[in-house]
């Protein structure tokens, strides 16, 4: 690339630097160079008349990596010399003088924050002479006669201390410590030595840290505002500039001695030697010097053989070129020289390339090797993984076998469990047997059970073995008969899946335990032995009726467990009571709506509607056991508006007309009459108190014979299978009954009161649960006679079951707006509540 250059005799200065700079870029910083070149050329163009002088200073700039301040340099050298003769005696700096000095320096316009490192240093060198001159002059005007050198020294000293302190303490903390020296001892992050240093600086007389801080941060917080000083300083500086420009070129080299090294001095001479008009020679020379400095000393030596250079240093090549062009005679030599040099370079390049190729080969080899190793490792890892998985599989297989064994054990137990539910008189025995039975099983195969327990243990409490959880919850259940502590059982059911399933399985229906635990209990039959005692509170102002569970046997209680709420609506043709599970949320569209009671126009007949169908076919088709469990639930969009008539309540006049007690007649469509017979059950108990699975299009159930037949056949079949599993002693007679007897709905009638002569009123024995006489009071018993028109051919005079004497529902007044409601099997709380509500509304009242 540089080969053709020597051949060009008269190349101009614009072309030359361009070519050469490209060459030089290989070894030096290109940014720096182009910057230099630019500034240099501009200056040269402007100051033709003393270009020699410029060149010299340019060199200084060059050595300090900056093109900055040719003018400044010139001024300071000139002015420095001009005042040299003046006598400055030794003086003492006072505080005010130092302050003045810093203020003056701050006005010189130098930006201490912007330039840093070499730039700052350089600018200080370039500017200091002129600056300090001006400052000295201004200070003189203020009556402080100090030399520029003294100013400079003093300021540098201040600066040094400031810097050192800032370095040690950090910018922010330094200020605080200057204000309060004691803080220094608190700084734990400093070594003792550093602390000593800092202390020394702090104790020095002229620290002026705040002023220096202001100076360095370009603010005037701690420096006095002094426009007069600023003006005079500017004046002094400008005056210097003009003076400098007027001055000529020569004779100022002496001033540069301190900043220019001997080498550049030599060059100075050397440039005298070159052609004055060759402006381009200077930058080219510089660049080449840089290149050769770094690259090759031998290069320079070879050129020195031409005898053109007086030095043996690396500047040879640049000298060579400088001389070659002017005289033209050495051109061929130079060309040849360059050619050999380029050949040498080429050779070196090739050698390096060879080396690079060799290295690359080595690297590739290594990479191949390491890749192979990696692959081997990966293979081993995969094998390990495979073995691990295989182990896991075997372990799981084993676990599975054990689990299936356990499930068999559990099924056996569950069989006993469901048996015990059916035949409650053998419940205890059956349960005991289930337990001991499983115990025997586990003993027989102790190892398998043990290992299975191992698997379970890993996830600990969440997967508490069923028998264990069962025991715990049974304990909880047994100890918590009454609300509000029955909450514990409900809480248990909300812990996690397994606990929930277990709780809902263990907690028995109120039919068997006589306790209401989950809301679903409200639609399940009441207990077979003994009644659930509740009370109803009426609020006439809001037309609401709340049903509570009695928590004590007292008749008049203020507190109870809330069960249901009803709200009365008077409509044009009827009265309607909507029944909710919540006392607060009584809107038909709310998910707490569970049913309603509606009267006819006269208020003599009432129909009870449920949001759930009276019989869930899906559950009926399954065995009795699963229908009691809670996970066979379908998810379907709720449809609260759909209602199913489940019962009808009618009031009849008695023979005395409106005088005397009413006669009540309740036809419970959802409860078969057989439910009261020995072994009878209420079929199709709901999973949930709220309507959930309505996908079966039941519509409103019409009680045609066929539909009842249909269902009862299914009941009997499901029951049959249960019984055959559970044991032959349960419900033997019930099986003998024909479908006819079972299809009949249960009919309830009120017990006829007898006239009490002494008290002159109609009386019923409420056993102390009713204390206020009211027409609303009633006791319902099952109608012993089958409904009219329903013959019972295959019932050859069965002894009337004891259930038929029992009061299934009794309702009576105990105080103003307070009524008791005691219900039992087969009615549910919801049904009982609805029937009682009808009593509130009847218009057939007697005096």
């Amino acid at each position: 690339m540089h080969a053709p250059n020597p051949g060009k005799q008269g190349f101009d200065h614009t072309q030359m630097p361009g070519n050469l700079s490209m060459h030089v870029n290989q070894s030096t910083d290109s940014d720096h160079l182009s910057e230099f070149q630019f500034g240099e050329l501009g200056k040269v163009d402007h100051h033709h008349h003393h270009h020699h002088h410029h060149r010299q200073h340019a060199k200084n700039g060059m050595s300090d990596d900056e093109e900055h301040g040719v003018n400044e340099d010139a001024t300071d050298s000139q002015s420095g010399k001009g005042k040299k003769g003046a006598a400055w005696q030794r003086m003492k700096w006072t505080d005010s003088m130092v302050k003045l000095l810093i203020t003056a320096v701050s006005y010189t316009g130098e930006d201490p924050g912007a330039d840093s490192g070499a730039g700052k240093r350089n600018s200080a060198i370039m500017q200091k002479k002129g600056k300090w001159k001006a400052i000295s002059k201004v200070m003189g005007e203020r009556g402080c006669s100090v030399s520029p050198q003294q100013c400079e020294d003093k300021f540098n000293d201040l600066n040094k201390r400031y810097k050192r302190l800032t370095d040690i303490l950090g910018r922010g903390t330094a200020c605080k410590i200057v204000e309060n020296h004691a803080l220094l001892d608190c700084m734990s992050n400093l070594s003792d030595k550093m602390k000593d240093d800092a202390r020394k600086i702090l104790s020095s007389k002229h620290l002026f840290y705040e002023e220096m801080c202001s100076y360095h941060n370009n603010n005037r917080v701690s420096l006095p505002e002094d426009p007069a000083l600023q003006r005079s300083l500017q004046l002094a500086l400008r005056c210097k500039d003009e003076h400098d420009l007027r001055r000529g070129t020569s004779g100022d080299a002496d001033e540069d001695d301190q900043s220019v090294d001997s080498d550049s001095k030599e060059e100075n001479d050397e440039e005298h030697y070159t052609l004055q008009g060759d402006k381009s020679a200077l930058p080219m020379h510089k660049r080449l010097r840089h290149m050769t400095d770094q690259e090759d000393v031998g290069f320079g030596n070879s050129s020195s053989s031409h005898g053109c250079s007086r030095r043996s240093d690396s500047h040879g090549i640049s000298l060579d070129i400088n001389k070659a062009f002017p005289d033209g005679t050495n051109l061929a030599l130079a060309q040849k020289d360059l050619a050999t040099q380029s050949a040498d370079l080429e050779e070196q390049r090739l050698q390096i390339e060879v080396q690079a190729v060799y290295l690359a080969k080595q690297r590739l080899k290594w990479e191949r090797f390491s890749k192979n190793k990696d692959r081997e490792l990966e293979q081993m890892r995969l094998e390990n993984e495979k073995m691990r998985l295989e182990n896991k599989r075997l372990e799981l297989e084993r676990g599975e076998a054990e689990m299936s064994f356990r499930s068999i054990v559990r099924d056996v137990r569950d069989g006993f469990g469901s048996l015990s539910r059916r035949g409650f008189e053998v419940r205890l025995v059956g349960h005991r047997r289930g337990r001991s039975h499983s115990a025997v099983h586990e003993l027989r195969d102790g190892h398998a059970a043990a290992a299975a327990a191992d698997v379970v243990q890993s996830s600990c409490w969440a997967n508490l073995p069923p028998e264990l959880l069962r025991d715990v919850i049974e304990r909880l259940e047994a100890s918590e008969a009454a609300w509000p502590s029955r909450k514990n059982v409900v809480a248990c059911a909300a812990v996690c899946r397994t606990w929930r399933d277990m709780c809902r399985e263990i907690v028995k229906n109120p039919e068997f335990c006589g306790k209401i635990t989950f809301p679903v209990s409200l639609k399940q039959p009441g207990p077979r032995d003994g009644a659930i005692q509740c009370f109803i509170k009426r609020d006439k102002s809001t037309q609401t009726y709340n049903l509570y569970l009695c928590l004590s046997s007292a008749v008049l209680v203020e507190s109870g467990k809330f069960l249901l709420s009803a709200k009365r609506y008077s409509r044009a043709t009827c009265t309607e009571y909507t029944i909710f599970m919540s006392a607060d949320n009584t809107s038909r569209s709310s998910n707490m709506y569970i049913g309603k009671l509606r009267s006819n126009l006269l208020g003599t007949k009432f129909v009870i509607y449920d949001t759930q169908p009276p019989c869930n076919t899906a559950n009926v088709s399954q065995s009795g056991k699963t229908s009691r469990r809670f996970y066979s639930r379908k998810v379907s969009p709720k449809n609260p508006s759909s209602t199913y008539s489940i019962a009808q309540v009618s009031y009849e006049l008695n023979v005395l007309g409106t005088r005397g007690p009413r006669r009540m007649n309740c036809v419970m469509h959802s409860i078969p009459a057989s439910s009261l017979e020995a072994g009878g059950t209420v079929p199709c108990q709901p999973d949930s108190v709220l309507a959930r699975s309505l996908d079966e299009s039941f519509g409103s159930i019409s009680f045609s014979k066929s539909s009842i037949m249909d269902r009862s056949i299914r009941f009997s079949s499901s029951r049959y299978s249960d019984i055959s599993v559970g044991g032959p002693m349960v419900g033997g007679q019930a099986l003998g009954d024909s479908d006819e007897s079972k299809e009949r709905p249960l009919i309830l009638r009120n017990k006829a009161p007898r006239w009490h002569e002494q008290l002159q009123c109609w009386c019923l024995n409420f056993k102390g649960r009713v204390t206020v006489a009211s027409v609303k009071n009633f006791q319902l018993v099952a109608a012993t006679q089958p409904a009219a028109g329903a013959p019972t051919p295959s019932q050859p005079a069965p002894p009337p079951p004891p259930e038929h004497d029992k009061v299934i529902l009794q309702f009576g007044k105990v105080a103003k707006d307070m009524f008791t409601m005691d219900y039992r099997y087969p009615l549910s709380a919801f049904q009982a509540f609805a029937i009682c509500l009808s009593s509130f509304d009847t218009k057939l009242a007697c005096e």
Partner: protein, 173 residues
């Protein structure tokens, strides 16, 4: 239950007279052997039936799902209940106090309580099983579901549908 355990104790007494004071070795799943009196071992229905079935008394009983720490604790209970008389009021009071202290210690360490409960269940030590399950039941009492989960370190795994039902139960409870 009180009469049942009394009968069992009487039967155990009869057995004891018959078999004298044989020693029985129980081995934990870590292979550590524990030598206990037969009366003590008979607290466990599992071991009792194996002893009564005859045979393997000399070889000892490996208990593959009971670790040493748990087994040591269980044996502590069995020794107390198997080797000591409980006829007088004082003796019964002493046993009751032992039970109280025993369960109080376990109550503090739920993980260990689990292990002991599992071991009692596996070995069919009726008294211990009743003690531990009652302790668990007592822990549950008066807690919200969240508190129960925290007490036993159970993860919440209920579905949205469950949640809805629980909310309904909760508002009703």
């Amino acid at each position: 239950m009180a009469t049942g355990s009394g009968a069992a104790a009487a039967a155990a007494d009869a057995e004891e007279k018959e078999s004298g004071s044989r020693m029985i070795t129980l081995t934990s799943n870590e292979g550590k052997a524990f030598v206990v009196t037969e009366a003590s071992a008979r607290q466990s229905a599992t071991i009792r039936s194996m002893v009564d079935d005859g045979g393997c008394v000399d070889k000892g009983f490996p208990l593959p799902n009971v670790d040493s720490k748990t087994l040591a604790r269980v044996i502590q209970y069995c020794d107390e209940h198997g080797n000591k008389e409980a006829h007088t009021v004082d003796e019964r009071a002493a046993l009751a106090k032992f039970d109280k202290d025993f369960i109080a210690e376990l109550d503090a360490d739920k993980a260990f309580l689990y292990d002991v409960t599992m071991a009692a269940n596996y070995l069919h030590i009726q008294g211990l099983f009743a003690l531990t399950t009652q302790c668990i039941a007592d822990t549950i009492k008066g807690k919200t579901p969240e508190e129960i989960r925290t007490a036993f370190g159970i993860e919440y795994d209920l579905t949205a549908q469950d949640e809805e039902e629980i909310k309904e139960e909760d508002t009703h409870a």
